[in-house]
């Protein structure tokens, strides 16, 4: 199955991004495709490469980036949500790209299922 994923929360206050990441890993392991992950609302913080979690904590910014590269997943950060939170091209982690909300609608159209992770 071809999945789209929407992540609406950042990597720390809520578990949503962790759950989305684990869902993506599990889906890929079962042979499914994760076509695009769209980061909206505070979810745009998952792309902030300046984020420095403590060394014994998981680093979702790196994990998403690595997963995206390994499986050729389109990791899209919403520009409107990103700009109001100070997430700009110069601080976006490799593997993510900034684009518009139309990419979310497109994920809904193209994917067999769009799975939403939020609070």
């Amino acid at each position: 199955m071809k999945f789209g994923i929407l992540v609406n929360e950042g990597p720390f206050t809520h578990q949503a991004s962790d759950s989305a990441y684990r869902f993506a890993v599990a889906a890929l392991a079962r042979g499914h495709e994760v076509w695009r992950v769209f980061f909206y609302s505070d979810g745009v913080n998952n792309a902030n490469k300046l984020s420095e979690p403590q060394t014994d904590d998981r680093n979702l910014v790196s994990l998403w980036s690595e997963l995206g590269k390994e499986h050729d997943i389109d990791l899209v950060v919403c520009i409107a949500a990103a700009l109001r939170r100070g997430i700009k091209d110069e601080i976006v982690q490799d593997g993510f790209r900034i684009s518009g909300l139309g990419q979310l609608v497109e994920a809904g159209i193209q994917a067999d299922r769009l799975v939403v992770f939020g609070d």
Binding site: V105, G108, Q110
Partner: protein, 129 residues
Amino acid sequence: MEEWEEAGPEVVKRFMYVNRRAPYGTIYALECLEVVLVAAAFDQDVSVVFLDDGVCQLKKNQDTTGIGMKNYSKTYGALDDYDVEKIYVEKESLDARGLTADDLVIPVEVVAAEELREIMTQQDVVISS
């Protein structure tokens, strides 16, 4: 955008956006409205639902001067300009808050929870916030 255009607008799915939160206090309601206004441009079958505290997003006469937030309630009027005509408000949520359709900034279809559940099951994509 270009990729989507290649896929063609012949793919029409039923998108439902579900608003369950109060208009202020968190950003969810405002950012959901922003999604809906963009989504409306994609020639999909769009519906918007307001339930639980989400019904308060549509309350008339909002005054945000005391909290320093932008009062964006008038923006819901743009849904009609964007041809978003399926706007559902859950009856039980209105009743619980002492509201009726007359208290809302735009015309809506008031539906009972049971009926709303039926409409939800007919959707291809449900995005809630």
